[in-house]
Symmetry: none
Subunit: 123 residues, 4 copies
């Protein structure tokens, strides 16, 4: 897999797991790939995956069962979704608004852009 050079790889891997959970690929209670497998499939050092899993565990998104591997928690999807939504609405959105104002960009400009997906969507 290709990684962005600016943000740490272990963060980008976190996003990979997040997306897999949100998309339903990893369902609540199910086992997720072992550190080793994940490292191989992403062509990354296992230490890096270890770091990601440790963070996810601390966040309560996955759990470790000794000898069996890592599992998504029962309500993983909700946990992730709520956490991200909350952070987005209370932190990122205000920053976004204040930058808009500083640059003198009106809300209409934003909504217009949004209604023309080809302008911003990669897929």
């Amino acid at each position: 897999m290709q990684f962005n050079k600016e943000t740490p790889i272990y963060i980008q891997i976190k996003d990979v797991v997040y997306n897999a959970i949100l998309s339903g690929e990893y369902c609540g209670g199910e086992r997720i790939p072992s550190i080793r497998d994940m490292a191989v499939s992403l062509e990354v050092n296992p230490n890096t995956v270890t770091r990601t899993y440790a963070i996810l565990q601390e966040e309560g998104v996955i759990e470790n069962q000794r000898g069996l591997g890592y599992f998504a928690v029962e309500n993983a999807k909700d946990v992730v979704l709520n956490q991200m939504k909350d952070e987005f609405l209370t932190v990122e959105v205000p920053l976004f608004f204040s930058k808009m104002e500083r640059l003198g960009i009106p809300m209409e400009k934003i909504t217009t852009l949004y209604s023309e997906p080809k302008k911003w969507r990669k897929t």
Copy 2:
């Protein structure tokens, strides 16, 4: 001055200069504080300011006159504004949109929040 610990100081100083230009404190053609003065007033090592000024010069926002110091370019304000606007609309806005979609937040939610400044404005 207090600096955020996460982003490099020389980047934060860049923003300081940017804001001073946008606010009209440093006008086009005028001299900006010498590296040493700036370093003292920000309580930072001169090398760090040197780095910031080098970047700003490369960006075409300030110029050096040998032995005299650095000067804001004639149309500094426009240069900064356009540069920031461009980066915002082509990089940050698309990221913002795609995160919105991933979290299933509709555009209406955003516009509603925007029309209630008390919810996001600090001042």
Copy 3:
């Protein structure tokens, strides 16, 4: 290594890397010496090499892979060659010509000198 005192060391290191790339010592995609190793072998402070590598990266000649080191880009040789050629033909050659004219030296004089390598070649 010995450095010319007039031009900055970090520029001279840049030339060292350029030549290593042109000579095929550093091939496209290969890793180049770490900052510390390079600093030791050139008997220079690591900071100085850091500066050189930063410039080369900005020029698109080398890339960084986090935690692994710097790598010559795939087509490094071409990039360097084109860059140098372009700069030579558009900057140095015109300066050369105008100086020739100012000194009243005819082109024939130059071509004659060129055809007698012993007059100018060191080897």
Copy 4:
């Protein structure tokens, strides 16, 4: 007057004087502008002109007559011309040739460029 930002101003002033001598504006034995006048007309600090004149005097191109000012030496034009020619042919030309070779640029390319003045002449 506009100065190039890269090379020291006192060097550029030296070129100004050189050119004035080569063009016959300052003839052998004649007085050249005082330091003060020169500084005013070039919009430069007098110290800078002082430095230039000191160098020119050391090179034997101008002389100082106490209380009267600076004068171009009798055969100033020859002195300058020979000096520049010599330095050009023994230093710059060899460097030029070796760079040509390193970049794989044939002599024909150079002569072709030379015969198309619009490509390199500013005037």
